[in-house]
Structures are given as C-alpha cells and as structure tokens.
C-alpha cells in the first residue's frame, strides 16, 4: 500500500513537472505573442480570405512539439500506473477476496 502511495506521489510529481514544462512551452503559443512577433495587430487573412489559427511563427512551431511530447509522456506514465492498478484489481478479483456477488473491492463506503 505504501509502495503504491509512493508510486502515486512520484507519478503525480512527474505529471506536474511535465505539464508545467509543457505549459511553459505553450505560453509562447499565445496568438498575441505570435501576432506581436509578426508585428501584426489584427487577424491577418491568408490567401483566399481565410484566417489561419496558430502556428504562425518559428517559436510557436517549436513550442507545439514540446507540448505534445510532454502530453504523451504524461499519458504514457499514467497508463503505466493504470496498468499496475488494473493488474492488482484483477488479481484481487480472481482470488475472490471480497466474495461474490457482494462487492469486489469497490469504492470506500461512506
């Protein structure tokens, strides 16, 4: 149980760190920054009159992969953690520890 708690805290810390770095990366993605960088004060229609959303600047183009990498890293870590929980839950279910059909390790009762 303690090991699970440690794992949970570690995963939460890593997720927070990754999300933090990803958020820092996306701070530059703000269209104002993009427009300011390009010396543009108003939406600039592209060819054919279409307004294109970000990414527009090289800075933003770099920021996007950083954000996506952080996102997928976080998801991968959370999936790993979930897999451990699923295996544990399945093991408890298979042993019939909680009996059937009266509950099988459900949420804590109030």
């Amino acid at each position: 149980m303690k090991a699970q708690l440690r794992l949970f805290i570690a995963s939460a810390a890593l997720a927070a760190a990754v999300l933090g770095s990803a958020a820092a990366g996306t701070a530059n993605l703000r269209p104002q920054n993009v427009l300011a960088g390009a010396s543009q004060a108003a939406p600039q229609p592209a060819a054919g009159g279409e307004v294109r959303p970000a990414p527009l600047t090289p800075r933003e183009k770099v920021g996007l992969p950083v954000f996506l990498a952080g996102l997928w890293l976080t998801i991968a870590f959370l999936l790993y953690f979930l897999r451990l929980r699923v295996r544990e839950a399945d093991r408890v279910f298979r042993t019939g520890f909680y009996g059937k059909p009266e509950g099988h390790g459900g949420p804590p009762k109030l």
């Binding site: 279409e50 307004v51 959303p53 996007l64 996506l68 979930l82 839950a89 390790g105 459900g106 009762k109």
Partner: protein
C-alpha cells in the same frame, strides 16, 4: 470529514450509488471492446460542454459580429484557437463514437428484447448529436457555412404539407439571415443540450436497469467468461481508453486547427465546392445522384422521403428484427452492413 460525508450521504444517498457500482458487472467476451465506445461518447460530450462554455464567453451570435468574434477567438484570445479546435474536433470524434456505438449494438444484436427502448433512445441521441453538428456549422458565419446551411435548411421543403413551414421555422424567415444565426445559436447552446441531457438520462437509466447485453453467439455458445466488476476493474480500463483518446484529440486539434473563411455575404453567390461536414457527406452525394424527376415526383422530394424512411427503419430496428437469431436477423445484419458500406462509399466519393 467523515461527519460531512455522513451528512451528505444522509441527504443524497451517495452510498447507495457506490453500492450499486460495486455490484455492477460487465460481461467479458471477444466483443467487449464495443462497451468502451459508450463511455467515449460521454468523454467527448464532457469536452464539448467545457469548450463550448469557453467559446460562448467570446462568441457573438449576430450578423455583424459572428465571423469577427470567431476570428478574435482564434487570433487574440489566449489559446482560443486551441479551444475552438478541440471543440470542433471533439464534435467529429463524438459523432464517430456514436456511430461506432450504434454499429456495435447492431452487430452484437444488443437491441433485442428487453433493450428496445435503450436502442431507440440511442438513435435519438444520434439525431441530437447530428443536430449539434448542423447548428454549430453555421455559427462561424463564413461563406462555406452559409452555403451549406442554405442547402441543409432547403431540404425539408421537399417534405409534403409541412416542409415549407419547417424550413421557415429553421431559418427564422424565407432565407438564411442574421435571425438564423441567433436561432441556431440558441438551439445549439440551449435546446439541444437540454434534449441530450434528458435523452441521455433515460438511456443511462435503461442501461443500468437492463445491464449490458451479450452478443447472440456468445450467449448461445456459453462463451461468456466470468463477468468483470465495473468498479474498479472495468472503470480503470476505461480510464486508460479515455487517456489515449484525450491524447489523440489534443494532438489532432493542435496540429490541424480549423481555419475561418471570409465573412458570409448574403448577396454573394454560393462559393465553388461547398460541402457539409463529413457526417452529412453521404446524404449530400446521394442527393446529387437522384434525377430531377422520378415517376412524376420531384427527385429531391423522393430523396428526402427515402432518407426519412431510412431513419425510421433504424429507429424501429428492434421491432423489425424482433427475433435476431433467426434467418430474418441474419438478413437484417447483411442489410445493415450493405447500408454502412453504401454510406462509406458515398462519403469517399464526395471527398474525391
């Protein structure tokens, strides 16, 4: 903390719900994967609500400001482009999930007795979801959305007796104007959310009441393994699916953010190459195939009536295929497979 929980439970009866969750089982068989499509719809619906509320803070549903407000959202509002992109892509993902969910239920014959009403509410949910897509498409008020909405709201005209009235009701007049934007906006953010919550509530209640259906073959052959407890075993697996779907959605939304066309001009002719959203393409292509006159009747009228009959057949599927394991059940399965193949073929043809 414990006292607060007890106080809340005394008033809300939360422990009864948790107790129910601990006893809820999910059948295990080789088609169990279809069960995940239902919860995926809930995920995308939740994302739609959150991003929709965020967009509504800046969107202005008027003829003069609609297009400009969307332009402002995607170019000036912090991360507005991302929120709009997630909203737009999540709508597509949600409709795809609803279609997959219905197809899964057709092929596993989940609409069999006593789940007829569950199926029917599911079809209603599909209709409401498509309604969200149709009304949302006009809101950016660019030339493409105007033209597509003109075509879409023109279709009911072909229905005898009430058709013209329905078109007027949808448009708020003879033509698509600023009144149509306000009308579609109210339907999009007020009427349809209330409708979907009501139908979804009944749908979820029926699922809990009847439990999850087993495919005919699994039921006959006794293929069923020990059912999996919903909590925590299945719920944890669903959480994994949600994480992956969330990742895919955000990735697609960030990499392929939709642009915004020039503001619609009511006086301008329809632009070349107008197309509706992907989920309406098969209807759009089918309409093109119908000749102008069929047996003295207008081709458009026949096409609309055929589509309405098709929708009615889907809705009444549990009544038509009331013995799914019999020969009729197999014929219905083949018919549905052919209809799906037709839909995909028409969609691809329209995209080419």
């Amino acid at each position: 903390m414990n006292r607060l929980a007890l106080w809340l439970d005394d008033r809300l009866g939360i422990s009864a719900v948790l107790e129910f969750m601990t006893k809820k089982d999910v059948p295990q068989h080789r088609h169990t994967i279809w069960y995940y499509t239902g919860s995926s719809i809930l995920l995308f619906f939740g994302i739609q609500v959150v991003t929709g509320v965020m967009l509504a803070l800046y969107y202005k549903p008027t003829l003069q400001a609609a297009n400009a407000s969307v332009a402002r959202i995607i170019t000036e509002v912090p991360l507005g482009w991302a929120v709009r992109s997630v909203h737009s892509w999540s709508a597509s993902f949600m409709i795809a999930a609803v279609i997959l969910h219905l197809l899964g239920n057709v092929f596993t014959k989940a609409y069999r007795s006593p789940r007829e009403a569950t199926w029917m509410t599911g079809v209603l949910l599909l209709a409401v979801t498509l309604g969200f897509g149709f009304t949302g498409y006009l809101l950016p008020w660019d030339s493409l959305s105007l033209a597509a909405t003109k075509v879409g709201t023109d279709l009911p005209k072909a229905v005898p007796v009430v058709g013209v009235w329905v078109t007027k009701l949808l448009r708020g007049g003879e033509d698509v104007t600023g009144d149509t934007i306000s009308r579609f906006f109210i339907v999009h953010v007020c009427v349809l959310p209330l409708a979907i919550l009501a139908v979804l509530g009944v749908h979820l209640f029926l699922i809990q009441r009847h439990g999850m259906s087993l495919p005919v073959k699994a039921e006959k052959q006794g293929e069923r393994a020990a059912p999996l407890p919903f909590w925590p075993n299945f719920a944890l697996r669903e959480a994994g699916v949600w994480l992956v779907l969330l990742g895919v959605l955000v990735t697609v939304a960030v990499l392929f953010a939709p642009g915004l066309g020039p503001a619609a001009n009511l006086m301008a002719p329809a632009p070349a190459g107008i197309k509706p959203e992907w989920y309406f393409l098969f209807m759009f292509q089918s309409l093109k195939l119908f000749p102008a006159r069929i047996l003295g009747a207008s081709g458009e009228e026949v096409a609309v009536l055929v589509m309405m009959a098709g929708l009615l057949l889907v809705f009444l599927l549990p009544v038509i295929d009331n013995r799914p394991a019999e020969r009729k059940g197999r014929i219905v399965s083949w018919f549905v497979a052919a209809a799906f193949a037709y839909t995909v073929a028409m969609t691809v043809w329209s995209l080419m």
